[in-house]
Symmetry: C2
Subunit: 233 residues, 2 copies
Amino acid sequence: MIVRSATPSDDADLTARARIRDAALARFAADGFGAPLRAIAADAGVSPALVIHHFGSKDGLRHACDEQVRRIVAEGKEPVYGAPGGHPDRADMFALLADVERYGVPTLYLLRVFQAGGDLARELVDDMVELTRTTLADGVASGAVRPSRDEDARARYLVMLTLGALVVDQALHPADPGDTGGFIRGYMARYALPSAEVFTEGLLLDATMLDAVAATWPAPTDPTPTDPPRTRT
Amino acid sequence: MIVRSATPSDDADLTARARIRDAALARFAADGFGAPLRAIAADAGVSPALVIHHFGSKDGLRHACDEQVRRIVAEGKEPVYGAPGGHPDRADMFALLADVERYGVPTLYLLRVFQAGGDLARELVDDMVELTRTTLADGVASGAVRPSRDEDARARYLVMLTLGALVVDQALHPADPGDTGGFIRGYMARYALPSAEVFTEGLLLDATMLDAVAATWPAPTDPTPTDPPRTRT
DNA sequence: ACAGTGACTGAACGCGTGTTTAGTATCGTG
DNA sequence: CACGATACTAAACACGCGTTCAGTCACTGT
């Protein structure tokens, strides 16, 4: 059993283990998960062997980074969403966005996660879809959001759209590792206006394409099989 | 020139160089650009040394694949857009989409390109942005598309959104290498409806967020194109 | 004082990578 | 036929990777 009596839990962030983890987070965020272990060790000022000693393997290090960023996300989400199932507070959300310098590295790390795919990415996307779904449902109930023919599909699609744009933007114009917050601010400066525009006003003025699409890929009927198989055309 | 024969494999009548190129295209599409040269050589039924002999290096092979997919895109675009600068024909566009089985591998290859970033990705995205810009301008002129406060930014944002969703969807749910068309059809089945819905009807019912965003990030008064920030060290 | 334990390192190992080399078969052309 | 160029391969090479190993150091409990 390992007991860390000499160091308080808060000082744990100063241990070599934490230094390695943070260096890996930054490296992975900057260069992707193909970044060499030796580079991470050099960033942390330790030998490659020590990384293995503390984390067992590169996968173990990756896992520790995942857990760390999960922790950061949870603690950043907490003031915005309050208790689990709570509703987002927009003022706190903007405050969080303004504090983007603090969350720049974890954000870029997450973009690398979504870029690379894998189990954690699927899990996080599912979480975001669920969060978006409930938030949109609240909006629909309060009259702020237009109802959809398929709320689940819309929530997932919106997550894929916004996440994907961030991922590709990062792939196309890699963020300066020294100014991780600049990436987010630049993204906002470029896309905030068209984003707000498209999502409030729409894009197409006539519904011919929507009708054609709705006829070709109809929305799923109610999950209860009491409805007739024929959906509205 | 080349006559297809009833050989067990359609590749048998291609030259080794073309066979290697096609094998690389499929491998890169399936596994990304980190795919080992030896695997590509095995797929093509040749030795790794022959790949180098024909393409000089792995980068050379990658470049040949880029050129090939560029050719395929051009010849697929030609009946839809006609002469350079022509306007898209929607009927031909749907015909092209129906022929997705034929273009499945090049499409997935392109998604890998956008996922990995790099010069080709930037170039292709710029092309697509330009194409989208003119197409949207036509739509605005004909009254089919709503005007924007910043047409350039909107065109770029729409390209990033739709491309990004495809890239992330592929990263999260890798396509079956044996059924590359299934990925596209599945994507359509899942997202065509919410896509058409969002882009014709919009999402938000009141413009408070749009107003706030327009005040924080106003549209450029002068239509000077915003150059992407080059912050590489 | 003294074993014990964990942090830590330099050097090496095994492996997979892209690439090179030397050599063989095959083809086109004088 | 002769011969040079091309297609092609087996084997080896050089290198970077994650990982292992043997050993040193510092600290801790008995």
